[in-house]
């Protein structure tokens, strides 16, 4: 339906013609799409149709029909617009209120959450330390009126009735101890006593660290450590284990920490690992490793042989107070590769690092043979003496019984330098233990090139009585007096049924069968209750043995 135009007749005529013209132009456009023509082009069209000066009339006719046409001034001209519906176009802006882009650009505020309820905390049990302290009765007195008015006790009333009691606890201020007058040894002892008992602190040797900072090892790590030691067939130091098994290079920032962790953690694995080191050279051992040193005699039996050392050593020896010692090798020490852990040796060697440490592996370096020997120091027990074993090869390759050796300490408390006196080669018939058939003492020609103490050299001319003798049985060996008597009979000078021998010869002779110190031998000879032994008045430092009265 054609829209109704308004205005004068002339205006209606012009408006109808303009509308017809514009609808013809926009006949394929949508109903609401604006159809636009400029006022100048409309005027030109009507003038081409024979109208004259029609522009003014066109403007008035269009202005008279604002419902049909809209006019927009543009650059000195006017744009006339309408739609196929015959209505002035209405500019419709696309709604962007809920567009995707606008929602991104102007996000909605976060929804407000209700305030979280505070989580209830576990209240510590209230302990009234001053419960027994007498408080003035007035302070706790409840007004009688409140109680009388309310026969049934109400909480509010009770709370109001009890006045707050302020308590002040005065503690005595603790000040640091003045340690300026205390020496380092006592301070170290005090630190060990206090921190050593604290489970939060990890301690090994002279090192300390908070326990929670010590790296932990898995069962796999421990198994690899044990396997590596068994593969090497000897105790290994913590340095070697950290580098070879744990893969931490020496000099890396973590090396010290890992080494401490290894020592601390293995010390707690009592069943699998045993500390056998010193403070500077920390060896670790495990089960299944071959024994260091002699297998001729059980370690317990050797310890029992050295039992006399317990009485000859101090309960608190001054470890590492001596820089070197000289020692004359006995036959017993020679065939077993031993050294006694006597008073001198205790002053040379270090104390055990850990409590209840049974043994320490040491390294003995012989610069004369360019060889380093791994030896084991067995610490004394309440009923067995201490000794060092593992020197078999050093002895048999370089020395003879009676040789003088020197052991010198180094800065490393686990490493020692052992030397002998190099001398021109000499030969002689010296005592040996023939083990090919039944064990017997024999004399064989021997060449040696070391310094010896002549009185302790077991030559055939002085100790010929040992030839073809069997070693004493264990029952006799366990009794030092019986050993002394047997030695008298073997090497003593027979005089009217008695035997006489000088002290040094006796000392060398008894040490063929079992270890015996000069102190112990002198004690047996001088203080024998049976009267079997007595001083020989005819010779200097000689003794006589009367057979038949053997203890």
């Amino acid at each position: 339906m054609a829209p109704k135009v308004s205005g004068s007749q002339r205006q209606q005529e012009l408006a109808s013609r303009v509308l017809t013209l514009m609808l013809a132009r926009g006949m394929f456009m949508s109903l609401s799409a604006p159809i636009t023509l400029s006022m100048s082009s409309l005027a030109s069209f009507f003038e081409s149709q024979g109208e004259k000066d029609v522009r003014g009339e066109l403007e008035s006719a269009i202005a008279a029909n604002p419902d049909i046409f809209s006019v927009t001034p543009v650059d000195g001209d006017q744009l006339v617009s309408t739609t196929r519906e015959g209505r002035a176009p209405v500019s419709v802006r696309p709604g962007n209120k809920h567009s995707f882009a606008s929602r991104f650009l102007t996000p909605m505020p976060k929804p407000e959450r209700p305030a979280t309820r505070p989580r209830p905390r576990q209240q510590p049990a209230e302990v009234d330390l001053l419960a027994e302290v007498a408080i003035e009765p007035e302070a706790l007195e409840v007004p009688e009126a409140a109680v009388e008015v309310a026969p049934e006790p109400e909480p509010e009333l009770v709370e109001e009735a009890v006045p707050a009691v302020t308590r002040t606890i005065v503690t005595q201020a603790i000040t640091p101890t003045d340690v300026s007058e205390v020496d380092n040894l006592n301070l170290a002892q005090a630190i060990r006593e206090r921190l050593g008992a604290d489970p939060r602190v990890a301690n090994f040797g002279e090192q300390w660290l908070m326990e929670d900072r010590v790296p932990r090892f898995s069962r796999g790590d421990l198994r690899r450590l044990r396997d590596y030691m068994q593969e090497k067939e000897q105790p290994l130091t913590d340095d070697d284990l950290v580098q070879d098994v744990l893969g931490v290079r020496m000099g890396s920032p973590d090396f010290d920490l890992m080494r401490f962790a290894l020592n601390y953690r293995l010390a707690n694995e009592h069943r699998e690992f045993e500390f056998v080191g010193t403070a500077n050279q920390r060896f670790w051992s495990t089960s299944g490793l071959p024994q260091i040193g002699t297998t001729r005699r059980k370690l317990n039996e050797i310890g029992a042989d050295y039992r006399f050392l317990i009485d000859e050593t101090s309960a608190k020896p001054a470890h590492r107070s001596r820089s070197s010692i000289d020692h004359t090798l006995t036959f017993y020490e020679f065939i077993h590769g031993l050294l006694p852990y006597d008073a001198q040796m205790q002053e040379l060697l270090p104390a055990p690092v850990t409590p209840n440490q049974k043994s320490a592996v040491l390294t003995f370096e012989c610069p004369q043979s360019f060889t380093t020997y791994l030896v084991e120091l067995r610490f004394p027990t309440p009923n067995r003496g201490g000794f060092i074993l593992g020197l078999d090869d050093f002895y048999t390759e370089n020395l003879v019984p009676g040789a003088i050796i020197s052991i010198e300490r180094t800065d490393n408390d686990g490493h020692y330098r052992v030397e002998y006196l190099p001398e021109a080669a000499r030969s002689g018939q010296l005592l040996e233990l023939d083990e090919r058939r039944a064990q017997r003492y024999v004399f064989r020609p021997t060449t040696y090139a070391c310094g010896v103490e002549e009185s302790q050299l077991l030559t055939e001319d002085r100790f010929g009585g040992f030839a073809n003798e069997k070693p004493l049985d264990d029952k006799a060996r366990r009794r030092p007096e019986a050993v002394v008597a047997a030695v008298f009979e073997r090497i003593g000078d027979a005089r009217e049924g008695n035997f006489s021998a000088d002290f040094e010869t006796l000392l060398a002779g008894v040490n063929v069968e079992r270890p015996m110190s000069p102190t112990l031998l002198r004690s047996i000879l001088d203080y024998d209750d049976t009267g079997a032994f007595s001083r020989d008045p005819d010779a200097d430092d000689s003794y006589t043995y009367v057979p038949g009265s053997t203890p």
Binding site: T177, S180, E181, N184, L187, D198, D256
Partner: protein, 61 residues
């Protein structure tokens, strides 16, 4: 500052809780193991500021 607590043998000292707390604080800040000698030095240093203050001459007024 308290004098060293008397113990059984002469020269021995017993550290109190304040000393141990000071050592523990030092250990907590140590990333690597420390030696006993270092702990001894820490204990001796604990009193150093006090000694310095005591030994310092009084300011003239």
């Amino acid at each position: 500052m308290t004098p060293p607590e008397a113990t059984g043998e002469p020269g021995q000292v017993h550290l109190n809780d304040e000393d141990i707390a000071y050592l523990m604080n030092f250990l907590r800040n140590a990333p690597q193991p420390v030696t006993t000698q270092q702990l001894i030095d820490v204990l001796r240093r604990q009193l150093a500021p006090t000694h310095e203050l005591e030994g310092a001459p009084e300011a003239s007024s």
